[in-house]
Subunit: 143 residues, 4 copies
Amino acid sequence: MSASLVEAKRVFDSAPFIASLGCHLDTLGSGVCHSHIVLAEKHQQQDGYVHAGVQATLADHTAGTAAVTLIEEGQRVLTAEFKINLLRAATGELLICRSSVLKPGRMLIIAESEIYTKQVGSADDCSLVLVAKATVTLAVTNK
Amino acid sequence: MSASLVEAKRVFDSAPFIASLGCHLDTLGSGVCHSHIVLAEKHQQQDGYVHAGVQATLADHTAGTAAVTLIEEGQRVLTAEFKINLLRAATGELLICRSSVLKPGRMLIIAESEIYTKQVGSADDCSLVLVAKATVTLAVTNK
Amino acid sequence: MSASLVEAKRVFDSAPFIASLGCHLDTLGSGVCHSHIVLAEKHQQQDGYVHAGVQATLADHTAGTAAVTLIEEGQRVLTAEFKINLLRAATGELLICRSSVLKPGRMLIIAESEIYTKQVGSADDCSLVLVAKATVTLAVTNK
Amino acid sequence: MSASLVEAKRVFDSAPFIASLGCHLDTLGSGVCHSHIVLAEKHQQQDGYVHAGVQATLADHTAGTAAVTLIEEGQRVLTAEFKINLLRAATGELLICRSSVLKPGRMLIIAESEIYTKQVGSADDCSLVLVAKATVTLAVTNK
């Protein structure tokens, strides 16, 4: 694993809020990060759906980690802004996020995150339901 | 307290994710909601700042509650989309959110949320630092 | 051509602002619309790049037309909100937009638009440069 | 008029697309810019309302000009992204934009734009109708 992927894994896992939500890192590549949460009652809003804040958190953090795979040693990324569309009321057993960098850059990195729900028993991607999509702007700064 | 404010208070407090984050409702009025979180390590990202997901969650949920004060019995709101700008790396003891409805509507309600950090000891508003601003689009549907 | 595609073509072409910008409709399908502008000096901002407003207009209008292909007779769409990331300073001879619906709906339709620049002489897609990406929320209403 | 205001005025007025739309600069201050368009048929979409692209262009350009009042000599701003909510179908004789900087910065400047319509005959602000609100992220670069 390259140094930048090691650093990206460290960033993903070392955020206390992410650990407290139960976010897990699944896949890391150059400009790519996949993650998931095993959904529980604590992730719900008032009507039993997955809270928009849970989806936003996973979309933001996974996008940020995808960006970290592209930066240099001594740099870090901070979210400058993001926008998320909640496409459907989300329910299910797993919340899955797939983030990839749309535009790398020295100052700004733009990434997109797609959020899916999935039933645990289903083996393939056919059962994925797209529930949200986010665009994230990350600022690259020196540590 | 009017029926719509009672319902708004119920919505704010009955979301398990909001309770798990430690979000507290402070003020409710017609089209207005204020809230706060007492910050702890669990709200942080990898560098010790308040995670963007925490700020987004508070901005979304408080905006949604402000919208609930304006809907009719038998209706509910769901976040259709939101956008948040993280203006500064956020640290402090309290995270405060002030949401108000920019445009009411039968189908869509648009609200804005301002997120501030504050030191606990400070008595007045002068010590508030604006750390994020969000625009939230809420869809009104029948229960 | 089906009735909904005829209506979509009418909507695209009958907007005076779109005609004044020189926007042309290229492709229409169910939930899909492609368009372009032949770039001239009048589309520029102060540094000679394509103005963000030109890119936003093409992204919005093409997304809206993609949405119109999915609505019923007697309905129309209005943009509720959109967000656009300008990924690169845009220059070139053609501005091309490809929009597709991410999520259809009776009340809200979410579409995405990708904006490219292209040199006129180039025959294939290899020369396309992605310069902007937008997410557009369209409200469906009765005429 | 200070050098930065002179430069901001030059930026506002020297964009060919802005001139072709008939955008006029009204007020300039530190971090503030107001502008307007006298509305004509050419600014309309297919139903006779002001096109979202016209509102977005005025919101973006006026916000950018507000940002230019805060940068140093030899720098310029480019729009990194913006988001606009179209709050009401817009009609009227004047389209007015009021932009102000929410957060200055060396790398990124965040500004907000409010778009109003107004009847020409009305003398005061009471007749202003808020039709759109935008948040604009501007990247500061060296010329």
